[in-house]
């Protein structure tokens, strides 16, 4: 029965008797191939470009990927239940707008903005859950729909304009507030030299890992993803858990939005849109880490780090952004081959 799949997949690999050396090599390639690629690329850039191995560059790389990584964690949760959240980029963008609106237009303190942004993210997640669980729309289609609605909503909120401190508002008055110092510290501040956004990324990774891999709820999410019907028959409230995954994804996306808002330091109606594909990509790349062949938190985090290494390394090497897209796409495909083709062949 596939329900047993919800326990660790690698244990299954251990069950396969590694009789022939060829099989053992293949098994190792699948298990460590991704980590090998990451380490090799890292070593290559570090050896050939002195500025790459600077700790400031490395922290910048992590800071750059922190948003895509956190959004990717949300995507990972929804992939665990067999769906996918395509609205994470839009929700992050909504977060930027809500943060700007709260602080600049309504002159509120940073904490109020943070709560408003997270509430907006949870609401967006609930909307996804409503469409998917109650109205039975397929995950990808439903979240694509909400993506458009949310992108439109954030423009409606601000009359299509990016909110800047001191701007003239629709009623002719001048915007009273600005981004508070405390709020700006989310991305611009450091603790012991590490950017706060990187610390948030690390903390959320650990929390999400504990939740997904070490609690009953996490195992239930995987079980639903593996076989919803069997899960239902086993007495699991499938709808409630799927809804939970989307609400958590919305909240994570809004935290990504907080970091973006802090990084940009003003409203920006175009923020977040570029994050969707990277978030999905890191979650997909993550499926190949340690040969698990399924969404997992450490994989997503490492996938984000790999994308960051590629982007930073190739930029320092002087390659234009479109060649980076080619390389990133190739890595994604390679990861998918690890995840699907090779691991299927092995278990077949």
């Amino acid at each position: 029965m596939t329900t047993t799949q919800s326990t660790e997949v690698p244990t299954k690999a251990a069950l396969v008797p590694a009789t022939s050396p060829a099989l053992r090599i293949q098994s190792a390639v699948i298990k460590y191939g991704f980590i090998f690629v990451t380490v090799t690329l890292f070593a290559y850039f570090a050896l050939s470009e002195p500025s790459f191995r600077d700790s400031a560059t490395l922290l910048d790389t992590l800071r750059y990927v922190s948003v895509a990584a956190i959004l990717g964690l949300g995507v990972t949760l929804t992939m665990a239940v067999g769906g996918i959240d395509m609205s994470v980029g839009a929700v992050a963008g909504l977060g930027v707008t809500v943060a700007a609106k709260t602080m600049v237009s309504y002159n509120q303190v940073g904490l109020v903005a943070i709560l408003a942004v997270i509430a907006a993210g949870a609401l967006a997640g609930l909307l996804n859950a409503l469409l998917i669980v109650v109205l039975k729309i397929p995950d990808m289609l439903a979240t694509l729909g909400t993506m458009f609605v949310i992108q439109g909503t954030k423009l409606v909120l601000v009359d299509g304009q990016s909110i800047t401190p001191g701007m003239t508002q629709a009623d002719g008055s001048t915007a009273p507030g600005k981004f508070t110092e405390g709020f700006l510290r989310i991305d611009r501040g450091t603790v012991l030299g590490v950017p706060v956004s990187v610390l948030i990324f690390g903390a959320l990774t650990v929390v999400a890992w504990v939740f997904l891999a070490r609690t009953r709820w996490g195992r239930v999410l995987y079980a639903i993803g593996a076989n919803p019907e069997a899960s239902r028959l086993a007495g699991i409230r499938v709808g409630a858990y799927r809804a939970l995954a989307y609400v958590l994804s919305g909240v994570l996306a809004s935290i990504g939005g907080l970091i973006l808002a802090s990084r940009i330091g003003q409203g920006d109606v175009s923020a977040g849109t570029s994050q969707l594909l990277e978030a999905v990509a890191v979650a997909l790349v993550g499926t190949s880490v340690l040969g698990r062949g399924r969404p997992n938190v450490w994989g997503t985090a490492l996938g984000a780090v790999l994308i960051g290494i590629i982007t930073t390394g190739l930029t320092i090497k002087g390659l234009p952004y479109y060649t980076q897209d080619v390389v990133e796409g190739a890595v994604l495909i390679l990861a998918l081959i690890f995840s699907f083709t090779l691991s299927k062949r092995r278990t077949a």
Binding site: S51, L260, G265, G267, D268, V269, T315, Y321
Partner: protein
């Protein structure tokens, strides 16, 4: 077509505060179209052919005398006709100077531009050129760079840091160049129309030149209309049409931004007033040249800078600053008047041909020295 080739790619409006929605959509469409638009072909060729550099005679100062110099160019967006040509000019000039230029292109993602700038600071670049960007986003990083002793040159960025060299297109000279043509065509005491919007730094500067020139010539302003939207050109057609219905006897209309000029041209044609009402615009691009040289086009004059020459001049400015020879903190690039007669008589169809026919566009005298090989076009 006029809608997709909107203001972000090549007008000075993009840097101002307001039209971010429009900006993002314009940049998105510019990105989508960059691969297939006719103009991108022309600009690619421009990049390749922009290489022939005049040979420098002077002795290179430090640090240029010591081999390749590392410079970073951090751009808000490199997509679209204007920005592609700007980038090609910058790259060609950097190559001629022996600069190892690293280009960071945020693709209109402002959060990425912040981390790009941060990476550039850590990359060991001696100078960083920042091309456009939100002040709130990049100012803290610019301050960091200055603190680390890196020279910073910005193009079209409002900055509060006194150590930063600020470069921009000279909007006043642009307006003046067109208005001089307009004064020659219409003479004194003419009845004129005006299409402009308040609240954008670039347009406000053009506006003040307009007021002075209109007063000096005794022009009577019959109407002032205009708005900037997501599709400025088409959205201004009804406004200008309505104004022309009431005041069909104006001799000329000043529309100091090419999207406004395009809308005005359409309105004049709708009212069948071409031949009676002359349109005076601003900015220049491949699309604008085609618009001006189309049959019966009422658009008789414009003024602009050559984005490729501007990109090259910004790099020269950065080189001078790094060599300690600039001795000023602001460089403006003057615009050149371009008339319909000139375009048609020389049979000019695009920016490349315009560059050849109008050497004044090449900014060869701006930010240069005997050790700098200017890139010519």
């Amino acid at each position: 077509m006029p809608r997709t080739r909107t203001r972000l790619p090549r007008t000075p409006l993009a840097r101002t505060r307001l039209p971010f929605a429009a900006l993002s959509m314009a940049s998105a469409s510019a990105l989508l179209l960059a691969g297939c638009s006719q103009s991108s072909d022309a600009s690619e060729k421009a990049g390749d052919s922009a290489a022939p550099a005049a040979t420098a005679t002077g002795k290179k100062p430090a640090p240029f005398s010591e081999g390749k110099v590392k410079v970073a160019l951090v751009r808000q967006s490199g997509a679209g006709d204007y920005f592609e040509q700007w980038g090609n000019g910058a790259k060609a000039q950097a190559k001629a100077l022996g600069i190892d230029l690293t280009v960071y292109d945020a693709q209109a993602d402002n959060a990425k531009q912040a981390t790009d700038l941060s990476s550039a600071i850590n990359s060991g670049a001696k100078t960083i050129i920042v091309d456009h960007g939100f002040p709130a986003t990049i100012q803290p990083e610019i301050d960091k760079a200055v603190k680390k002793g890196i020279k910073v040159v910005v193009y079209d960025v409002e900055t509060t840091n006194k150590s930063v060299v600020s470069t921009k297109q000279d909007d006043a000279s642009m307006a003046q160049a067109v208005l001089d043509v307009m004064a020659g065509e219409l003479g004194k005491d003419a009845k004129v129309g005006y299409v402009n919007v308040a609240g954008y730094a670039a347009l406000d500067k053009r506006d003040s030149v307009w007021k002075k020139t209109a007063d000096a010539n005794g022009w009577k302003q019959a109407f002032k209309v205009g708005k900037v939207t997501d599709s400025t050109a088409t959205d201004n057609v009804p406004l200008v049409s309505a104004a022309l219905t009431q005041h069909s006897d104006v001799a000329g209309v000043f529309a100091p931004y090419d999207e406004l000029a395009k809308g005005t041209v359409l309105a004049v044609q709708n009212k069948k007033l071409q031949g009676k009402v002359k349109v005076f615009g601003a900015d220049v691009s491949n699309a604008d040249i085609q618009n001006m040289t189309a049959k019966d086009s009422p658009w008789v004059a414009t003024a602009g800078t050559d984005p490729s020459a501007v990109g090259a001049a910004v790099v020269r400015t950065a080189a001078l600053e790094l060599a300690g020879q600039l001795n000023k903190t602001s460089v403006e690039f003057p615009a050149v008047a371009i008339t319909q007669d000139f375009l048609t008589s020389k049979n000019i169809k695009n920016m490349d041909q315009l560059r050849e026919a109008l050497p004044a566009l090449d900014l060869a005298k701006v930010s240069t020295a005997d050790w700098i090989p200017n890139v010519a076009h």
